[in-house]
Symmetry: C3
Subunit: 182 residues, 3 copies
């Protein structure tokens, strides 16, 4: 009898898969079609499924959260339509952080140097006032410093320093982010 193929082992336990199936149904029927201004309704749904969400967060109806029970948001966080929060491990979104359209917080990877190609997940931390721009991607296990900016379509493969602007695939530091009164 040969050993079972490691590629065929379920990546997640059955209870977790059932919970996600249930959340998927709720997302499709109650979250996704909700009118855009009903942020309080969507916060309520996410909290029902275990998310920790501060006041005044705007999670738009087209935002996809993989596991609300692994999401921790501060206050006044925005997660835009088409953004993907893939969080087999916890993802933290600091207060006043912004996750723009189609941004992708990719909280898991495969260990491609292991023979069994195991799925491994790691926490992602997005600092206060950081901005993950549209179509940008953050790899699992990273810390994005407070106020950091990851530019349009860029991919972060290392931690981002606070108040610094990064761009490219992989993302490189391009300048400091300074702020002035407007």
């Amino acid at each position: 009898m040969s050993a079972p193929d490691p590629y065929l082992r379920p990546a997640f336990p059955i209870a977790d898969r059932l919970r996600r199936q249930l959340w998927g149904i709720v997302w499709t029927l109650l979250f996704r079609p909700s009118p855009r201004p009903l942020h309080a309704w969507r916060r309520m749904l996410l909290r029902l499924f275990g998310a920790s969400i501060g006041s005044n967060c705007h999670i738009y109806p087209g935002a996809r959260i993989w596991a609300p029970w692994n999401l921790t948001c501060g206050e006044v966080v925005a997660v835009a339509d088409g953004a993907i929060i893939y969080n087999p491990s916890r993802i933290y979104l600091g207060s006043h952080s912004t996750i723009s359209q189609e941004a992708y917080l990719c909280g898991a990877t495969h260990n491609y140097e292991d023979l069994d190609f195991a799925l491994t997940s790691a926490e992602i931390y997005i600092g206060e006032e950081a901005w993950i721009c549209a179509r940008a991607t953050v790899q699992s296990g990273l810390r994005v410093g407070p106020g950091a900016v990851l530019a349009l379509g860029s991919v972060a493969t290392r931690d981002l320093e606070p108040w610094t602007v990064y761009a490219g695939v992989p993302a490189r530091k391009i300048k400091q982010r300074t702020r002035r009164e407007s």
Copy 2:
């Protein structure tokens, strides 16, 4: 009494939000499910909502246009399934320009150097016979010259010169585009 949080100011006036809500319903019910060959039907819907569209444009059913009233197309323009026209400011698509699958014309950004992180939009101009390839992205405020090509998955952060091929994130000039009889 403290000042209101600038992050919580609505980015768009109420009339604009209602109009987009209405367009969203029409898109979902009448545009998105329409059979692929019914280009004339989709042009009619877009024109009903204020778009200026020349003859023989092929706007595919999976194309997402944020605000038809801010879209100006020449003739024989193609906008593929999954392409996103995000146009809080006007976007111009020149005749014979092609916007491929999942291309993203991203017509707004945030001013991240201002304390209030204001949303700012700016027009995008795509020249005649230009080609925005699949998964490529154009930043707000740019002019893509006639005949320019933005390669697969690339991100334009500056104006593109006419009849020139660009690739990368951010996109760099890689060669001239020449044409011959086929």
Copy 3:
């Protein structure tokens, strides 16, 4: 009488377009909403439409296959939610290859140096145990060697050598992929 505009010639013959329309309806009604564990059901649907699929392949419900009749999979292949298999020409997925979320195998392009801007497609070959990471893109006509890795959000514009890790837009070789017992 002027010559017809080459941009307006249908890219595909009518029989092909009808077959895809039919497959689109089946995908929407029977494939997309199927529960995640029902891999056998989705394999059956794909085979009904002409796909060649080995045992134990996991094609997830959100995976989009353009033309099942142009898909050849080995055994134990995974194609994740949101992955796009755009295959006007045949695409081969070797055994134990993994196509992650929102990866894009883009099997066609336009010949932008021809006056008629013709759509041209070419086969894509993904080797055994290769991994196309999330949001990565493979251009038409390429061979991805066995065991090669195309990193998160990268774009392959040339063939990838076996057991080598590539990253960037365009993708560059960054290291060998070695494996050890886990």
